[in-house]
């Protein structure tokens, strides 16, 4: 086993990395003094992966939407028990989640770390699906979907993605629909499992007060022998660069209209570093324009058009990326116009260099602060890894950032014809 060390100069921390012969990447972060152990075992597989060609197969498969999430629910099933029982006996708090691009199984504990780690590795590598246990889950997930149907933030987000994307499956609810999950069977679950839960498509990240050598040893002993089967071909429908719709309103009982507006990305860098640069630069521009210290924020807060919930983000994944601005606002259309006018004003007058320097400092602080939340850091690290990016490269990207590049990023991303507005309001 070859253990590589990677050090980040800002954090003064080291990540230990080793690759199991199966191709599974294993990452360890030692946190002396911490009581909690946290491990996340994840596959590069999410709700967007409903069409694929498995290695060695000639025909492509299309499976029902929501299957990655359904599979996650069913992984906890063992022939004679629920795996939660084992974690409970070992004092761990176990959970899992599915996002558009990743399915992750995790636990945190303060005792019996090694037993819990073995349990995690065991159950994720050993599915047990039966017709009965698959059927039983339909009602539970049906209620999960219903719950999200009533969730205004969830709805305004997915309607927003539906405006941005004609075909890309990122616009579909992670859990699917009551209709789509009615087609899920044991056979389909095994098919997806065998394709995407190959260890070469998975990563494991462990944080805690660890004995590094011993932990690697334990992990390697508990990962199965698998040969690299070849690439999984993921099939995404053709996505035009244009937006799909400009505006959508959904009526739900809310105290004040909720809005998300944002821009569809049109620039897709080739490599991981390019993607990270795009991410950081766009985040900085969003903060400079619409963050709490911006002129925009002050003006419209005082006019009552926005409140404390006004926030922004930049999201990206395989074949998609977009910026989003969230607001609870009495007048979403007016807010949309105000944002467009602000972008035009900045286009005329230029970005401020002082704002750039200051926002950059805040970004540096945020990077370090996030590091204190070990579980969030581990999840982010793995999800970026699946995009081909090492989060520890942040310092070099940060240092090479220039004002001129930021100006370019602003000009290429904030283009009104790529902007959409999603609204949830009461009748």
């Amino acid at each position: 086993m070859e253990i590589k060390k990677k050090t980040n100069s800002f954090l003064n921390e080291t990540i230990y990395e080793a690759h199991h012969p199966s191709g599974c990447g294993v990452y360890l972060l030692n946190k002396p003094g911490f009581h909690n152990y946290y491990a996340v075992f994840a596959t590069d597989y999410g709700s967007v992966d409903s069409s694929f060609r498995a290695p060695g197969e000639s025909a492509a498969a299309t499976v029902p939407d929501g299957i990655a999430h359904y599979l996650e629910h069913k992984m906890f099933e063992e022939p004679d028990r629920n795996i939660f029982d084992d974690f409970a006996k070992q004092g761990a708090n176990a959970n899992a989640f599915t996002s558009s691009e990743m399915t992750a199984y995790l636990f945190s504990c303060t005792e019996h770390f090694e037993e819990n780690l073995k349990t995690l590795l065991h159950y994720v590598q050993n599915p047990y699906f039966t017709d009965e246990n698959v059927e039983k889950e339909r009602g539970i997930i049906g209620q999960e979907i219903r719950m999200y149907d009533d969730h205004p933030y969830w709805r305004v987000t997915y309607n927003f993605l539906g405006l941005l994307y004609h075909n890309h499956p990122v616009k579909l609810d992670t859990a699917g629909t009551v209709e789509s999950i009615s087609h899920i069977t044991k056979e389909l679950l095994y098919r997806c499992y065998n394709t995407f839960y190959h260890l070469s498509n998975m990563s494991l990240f462990i944080v805690g007060d660890l004995d590094v050598e011993r932990t690697f040893q334990l992990v390697f002993e508990n990962l199965r022998d698998q040969k690299y089967p070849g690439e999984i071909e993921r099939i995404y429908p053709e996505e035009p660069s244009s937006i799909c719709g400009k505006k959508k309103i959904q009526y739900l009982p809310v105290s004040m209209p909720m809005a998300i507006l944002g821009y569809k990305e049109t620039v897709f860098p080739e490599d991981g570093l390019g993607i990270m640069e795009r991410q950081i630069e766009t985040e900085l521009v969003l903060e400079m324009l619409f963050g709490k210290s911006s002129a925009f924020y002050e003006t419209y807060y005082q006019q009552g058009l926005i409140n404390d919930s006004f926030s922004n983000a930049y999201e990206s994944g395989k074949g998609y990326a977009y910026s989003e601005i969230f607001a609870e606002t009495p007048d979403p259309e007016k807010l949309y116009s105000a944002v467009m006018e602000e972008v035009e004003r900045v286009r005329r007058e230029g970005l401020s260099k002082a704002d750039f320097e200051r926002t950059k400092k805040a970004l540096y602080g945020a990077y370090i602060m996030d590091f204190d939340r070990a579980d969030d850091f581990a999840n982010s690290y793995v999800s970026w890894k699946f995009k081909g990016i090492d989060m520890f490269e942040f310092d070099s990207v940060y240092r090479s950032m220039t004002f001129d590049n930021l100006v370019l990023r602003f000009k290429e991303h904030f283009v009104e014809e790529n902007a959409v507005l999603s609204i949830v309001r009461s009748k």
Partner: protein, 422 residues
């Protein structure tokens, strides 16, 4: 576990161990009674108005700009309810000095900024500035109304409100919508001056900070004054044997079912630890009776869980179900409740519950914010520390579980239902 330093009488600094963190978190907590609608509403408005600026940083934008200079230090205000206490929290989180690339200590910088905001707000001879009060009154009203956005939280909120009608506990920590517009800036300012000088204050610091420097800074702002003791929560009433039922309609797809129980176990009693264990067995997590039966066995719900309102001696079950399954879910929840009452609890369930609680308690040490909130709840009740909790929980027996559950009464059943139900 923590060192205590008295800043002035009634103002205590708790130094929590935190060398392992790169960030320092500081929380300043003011505790006052959840007394009546007008006062609770005034108190809820104060943190919002204070964040409009200090004399040194006279606008929210000036504060935000300064915080960015301190490497994006976070400053947050929140209002919490702990039993019948309204707790105002002012917090900062900043990079510890050795991670600053250059310049001043971000922790001291951000803390000074917070203290300026608290003690030296922008004001004229009549009080807070009219425009700041006006904006924040609108914000507070929005905040009070926004409870309906999350249907799960809303149903629980309504269940508590209906169950405890006539008790202080029914008041929302955010205040009352109709009271907001009655508040004048003069009135608010004098309320603020009284609060800042008379409420008991607990300050928590966790991280690699210069404690001496922090103590000195705090002493320069907190001057000696006469401060009250912690507010008390009155014990919960008895139900009188009848279960009250409420059903409300909203345009929703999924029904919400909440059940309110009176536990008759007070937060500072020895039995409280057994109640924690019993609640964990009943509906605490994924190994609980509710999860295993309502969800896993009957597939009725995605979530079904119980939680304690520690200081008021209440317990609430909440679940999201199809409208047509309200009765089925209710019946199953009651069956599981009675199982615990009858003492039908396996040794394994007891041990699992203890382990889950132990894990949660030990994890607090890695999460400064949660540790601070936990400690404040304890200051308002028994004063027990984490070590005491661990010992007392370990000693709980199956008989204790049965005994504390046997005296629990179902008080209120609340359903949030939709038009599709008809």
């Amino acid at each position: 576990m923590s060192e205590m330093i008295q800043i002035t009488p009634g103002v205590t600094l708790h130094v929590l161990p935190g060398d392992k963190f790169k960030t320092t978190s500081i929380g300043v907590y003011f505790c006052r009674p959840l007394d009546n609608k007008p006062n609770v509403t005034r108190a809820a408005l104060i943190p919002l108005v204070l964040r409009r600026g200090s004399k040194k940083y006279p606008s929210a934008r000036a504060i935000a700009t300064a915080l960015e200079e301190y490497y994006g230090a976070a400053l947050g205000v929140s209002v919490l309810k702990r039993g019948e206490a309204q707790v105002l929290r002012f917090g900062v989180k900043a990079l510890s000095k050795q991670f600053a690339l250059e310049g001043d200590d971000p922790v001291i910088g951000a803390l000074s900024l917070l203290l300026d905001m608290l003690f030296d707000p922008v004001a004229d001879e009549k009080g807070f500035l009219e425009e700041n009060v006006a904006i924040e009154k609108e914000d507070l009203k929005d905040d009070i109304k926004s409870i309906i956005n999350d249907k799960r939280e809303y149903a629980l909120f309504r269940c508590k409100e209906l169950m405890c009608e006539g008790e202080s506990f029914a008041l929302s920590e955010s205040g009352d919508y109709d009271e907001v517009d009655k508040i004048s800036r003069e009135d608010l300012y004098s309320f603020y001056q009284d609060l800042i000088g008379s409420a008991p204050v607990d300050i928590f610091i966790c991280g690699q900070a210069d404690v001496q420097e922090v103590t000195k800074l705090l002493k320069s702002y907190f001057k000696p004054s006469c401060r009250q003791g912690y507010p008390k929560t009155s014990p919960s009433r008895t139900t009188g044997g009848t279960i009250r039922r409420f059903s409300e309609e909203m345009d929703v797809n999924q029904g919400k079912l909440c059940i309110g129980f009176r536990t008759h176990t007070e937060a500072d009693s020895e039995d409280y630890y057994a109640l924690m264990v019993a609640n964990e067995i009943f509906g605490g997590g994924v190994s609980s009776k509710l999860f295993n039966n309502v969800r896993e066995k009957l597939s009725l719900a995605y979530y079904a869980s119980s939680r304690l309102e520690k200081l008021k001696g209440l317990m609430f079950v909440s679940s999201g179900v199809e409208f047509k399954n309200f009765e089925k879910a209710y019946d199953e929840i009651v069956v599981q409740f009675q199982e615990v009452q009858k003492g039908n609890v396996e040794r394994e369930e007891l041990e699992n519950a203890k382990r889950a609680l132990k894990n949660a308690l030990l994890s607090l040490d890695d999460s400064p914010r949660q540790l601070q909130d936990f400690m404040v709840s304890n200051l308002l009740s028994s004063g027990a520390d984490v070590k005491t909790y661990l010992e007392k929980i370990e000693a709980v027996t199956q008989d204790d579980v049965k005994r504390v559950f046997a005296r629990i009464e179902i008080d209120t059943v609340y359903q949030l239902t939709g038009p599709a139900a008809k």
